[in-house]
């Protein structure tokens, strides 16, 4: 595996952590991804986190991910780990030190308690609400621990192992009048609950419900607004309307048959979603991916980065009032899809990456298709610059609106173009090259304003860099295998199947049951279209995952909306929402 992992924090960091919770034991766990993983006592958690954020070396500025695991049915838990019914996992990211750290807390009981980190990191709130909603872990001192994904009327915590997974295990869905009434009632806004007040000192405020169906919220997303005239006093985003249970789905699909579900997480990212998933599995199984497969993956990922950014570009300028660019941009998207379809056989969700490589070799004549596209696109981007970016009306709507600095971005867990627009050049493709990105010559575009306009400028420049990368793939595509020759790749190698019974049996089992992955935990992170996307997979040594955690960039991005929209006008909020570039499947999974 050529992928470089994060620089391991020095042993001194772990020593310092040990010293800080003197008397209580820190247990180190070995994981396949090589990320330092420590089990810490719940009582010491808040103190440790504060120290890691403010004083440790390197400082961990970002709470990258927070999730729970139902440990009650583990069959192959590593010996020596603290006994647990549930565990809560915290993944921290140090942008300056380019390092990761994973801390785990073991919890006991049916409804276990865990200290809340809301006062340490602003973005802990939604993550903790999610863990409460899906697992029933109670976070003490959380300011407002209510459901976030499931409807308020829901009973139970769906990601628990004893909760049914399939809709067909429940009674057939019926929406009679009584139920519709009940559900509508549960969706009603109670302004007081969210700290909004309809009455001011000398005048009333307006409470406005934007969404969950609104043309400019990009999907099923809702923002509750407290308005003073047209000025936003308070905004409360409400999500969960797009929860497809992708994580629970991972617990019943084979390792191989889960790949199509990843496509549908960031549904504009296509095969880009496959990459962190298969990379995590390749780390777990120790599969070395051949250079040709890596380069094909890079090329396709960059194609999807362009189609996704084009859609962002078009909808963004449309949301601030320019109708025509989106029509031109969809012509380009169509051209990109023609290439993608010729190579992968499908447009939006090709599910084309495989454990160990890709599904198929590149078709004969692919070079011309790709060349036509990379020759076509730059002139179009120049046109759009004149049409959109230099448009003074667009500039007036976007420059200086919704601005935040790097520190705020890190506090809220913002990654991707939203982080780079603040001047921070953290791009995982450069910081920790994976899948052979170290061999490519490209730049990381940044901007300094951190506003709506700069987020757009960064993405436009990223498209140019993606074209550069694709051109390099075209000119230097390595020869060789498109899939690794490893027994755990899917579909399995068939070379000797018809010659001896042993390989026939293995092939048959591997195709019907799917590959059996070694027990352990592994994760992989990529610079996806919208920011950092990672999959953390726990295997109990079976044909399915024990726990699949999908960390998506859009989830923390939406949580930040109130912080950057207070005091602005409603039309500014629309520009901010467009500039974030999210899809709801990437938020709710």
């Amino acid at each position: 595996m050529t992928a470089a992992v994060a620089a391991a924090p020095s042993a001194s960091l772990i020593e310092a952590l040990r010293a800080r919770c003197a008397g209580q034991e820190l247990v180190e766990e070995r994981t396949a991804d090589g990320m330092p993983t420590l089990w810490v006592p719940a009582g010491a958690l808040r103190g440790l986190m504060r120290w890691l954020k403010a004083e440790a070396s390197p400082r961990f500025e970002m709470l990258y991910d927070l999730y729970a695991v139902d440990e009650r049915q583990r069959s192959r838990r590593a010996p020596g780990l603290p006994a647990a019914d549930f565990s809560v996992v915290y993944q921290l990211l140090s942008v300056r030190g380019n390092a990761d750290l994973r801390l785990k807390v073991a919890l006991r009981g049916e409804y276990p308690h865990c200290p809340s980190l809301c006062e340490v990191w602003a973005n802990a709130s939604w993550y903790e609400r999610e863990a409460w909603d899906l697992f029933g872990v109670v976070f003490d001192d959380h300011p407002h621990l209510v459901r976030i994904m499931m409807p308020r009327t829901w009973e139970g915590h769906p990601l628990r192992k004893d909760h049914p997974a399939r809709a067909t295990e429940f009674e057939r869905f019926q929406l009679d009048e009584a139920r519709a009434q009940r559900e509508q009632e549960a969706l009603r806004i109670d302004p007081e609950e969210w700290g909004m007040s309809p009455q001011g000192e000398d005048h009333d405020y307006m409470i406005l419900n934007l969404g969950p169906n609104h043309p400019s919220v990009h999907g099923v997303f809702r923002v509750m607004l407290q308005l003073d005239g047209e000025e936003i006093v308070e905004a409360v985003p409400d999500i969960g309307y797009h929860h497809r249970g992708a994580e629970k789905m991972g617990e019943r699909q084979s390792w191989h048959s889960y790949i199509p579900y990843t496509d549908r997480v960031d549904y504009l990212g296509g095969v880009m979603n496959n990459l962190p998933y298969v990379m995590a599995l390749e780390r777990l199984a120790g599969i070395e991916v051949p250079p040709r497969a890596q380069t094909i993956r890079v090329m396709l990922c960059e194609f999807f980065r362009i189609t996704s950014h084009l859609l962002f570009y078009g909808t963004f300028v449309q949301d601030v009032g320019a109708m025509s660019p989106i029509f031109y941009m969809f012509v380009d998207r169509q051209k990109a899809y023609d290439v993608i379809e010729a190579i992968c056989g499908f447009r939006m969700h090709p599910a084309w990456f495989r454990i160990g490589g890709v599904a198929h070799d590149l078709p004969r004549g692919w070079q011309q298709l790709v060349r036509d596209f990379v020759d076509w696109m730059p002139r179009r981007l120049d046109d759009y610059e004149k049409m959109a970016l230099k448009n003074r009306m667009l500039q007036k709507r976007a420059i200086g609106v919704g601005a935040y600095d790097t520190a705020t971005a890190l506090e809220w867990g913002v990654t991707g173009p939203g982080l780079r627009a603040t001047g921070c050049d953290f791009d995982l493709r450069k910081a920790r090259p994976y899948s052979g990105y170290q061999h490519f010559d490209f730049e990381v575009p940044t901007a300094t304003g951190g506003d709506v306009y700069d987020r757009c400028v960064v993405r436009v420049e990223e498209m140019r860099q993606s074209l550069r990368i694709i051109r390099q793939c075209l000119e230097h595509m390595p020869e060789g295998d498109y899939k690794a020759r490893h027994p755990l790749t899917t579909p399995p190698i068939k070379d000797h199947t018809m010659r001896d019974i042993d390989t026939l049996i293995h092939h048959f089992l591997s195709v019907s049951w799917g590959p059996v992955m070694p027990a352990g935990e592994s994760s992989a992170m990529v610079e996806a279209t919208k920011g950092l996307n990672s999959y953390t997979l726990s295997s109990d040594g079976g044909t399915m995952s024990y726990r699949t955690r999908i960390r998506t960039p859009s989830f923390p991005h939406l949580q930040m909306i109130p912080a950057i929209s207070r005091g602005l006008m409603v039309p500014d909020l629309i520009a901010i929402i467009a500039s974030i570039d999210f899809v709801m499947a990437d938020v709710d999974r």
């Binding site: 769906p158 869905f173 969706l187 797009h242 497809r244 199509p260 939006m348 198929h360 004969r364």
Partner: protein, 220 residues
């Protein structure tokens, strides 16, 4: 005013006129036609208008919406079917396309939006999730939007191509054209008379079976 009464056969040719009156009375259909006036039964005219101006509601749930929006843009040009007038409010729309997964939490919202549409209204279910739950037999997804809405056209695919959406629109047009919705009290059966539901699997079967050579995947 002079006029002659004629029996106009249903769906047939106008009776051939003979004698000195040939060429039509001053306001016979022929002479009106010559003056640039078209006559039709009001019901048929309304039906024809409805068929060619099905305005979609700007509503999307997930991935399928992206392909539906692609069908709205210039490479696919939905204006050919009179369906380019995308309405942001359900009250002005004729068709709601359920493009994406019908989530449990979203179902009451979808139903409320459908109720806000004014009749006549139609529903297209776009993609596997909306058809049956598709890949997502999971706790948070309703297994098909037809569990709570009457669906007129189903589009298969995950997601269907924009062309498939256009085909569905044409099928809906056929259906709308064949529908009988009395404009007033009529003699005979009351209410909406719908045409038969067509199965594309059956109608395309012969064509599909006729294909014997398929493009190999290693060519572009």
């Amino acid at each position: 005013m002079e006029y002659t009464l004629q029996r106009w056969p249903r769906g047939g040719q106008a009776p051939e006129e003979t004698g000195p009156q040939a060429g039509g009375a001053p306001d016979s259909p022929e002479s009106l036609h010559k003056q640039g006036i078209l006559t039709a039964r009001l019901n048929d005219l309304v039906q024809w208008g409805r068929k060619h101006s099905i305005w979609p509601f700007n509503f999307g749930l997930s991935c399928c919406y992206v392909e539906m929006a692609t069908a709205f843009t210039s490479p696919h040009d939905v204006a050919r079917f009179g369906a380019e007038v995308i309405r942001a409010t359900p009250r002005q729309a004729d068709v709601i396309v359920i493009s994406g997964t019908p989530f449990l939490k979203m179902a009451p919202v979808i139903q409320r939006l459908y109720e806000q549409m004014l009749a006549p209204k139609w529903v297209i279910s776009m993609g596997s999730c909306a058809n049956s739950g598709g890949m997502y037999d999971i706790y948070s997804v309703v297994q098909g939007v037809d569990k709570f809405l009457p669906v007129d056209v189903y589009i298969s695919g995950c997601p269907p191509r924009p062309e498939a959406f256009l085909e569905a629109l044409m099928l809906l047009q056929q259906q709308v054209g064949a529908e009988q919705r009395p404009l007033s009290w009529t003699v005979g059966p009351q209410g909406i008379q719908r045409g038969p539901k067509l199965s594309r699997r059956d109608s395309k079967r012969a064509h599909r079976l006729a294909a014997t050579t398929l493009r190999p995947p290693d060519e572009v």
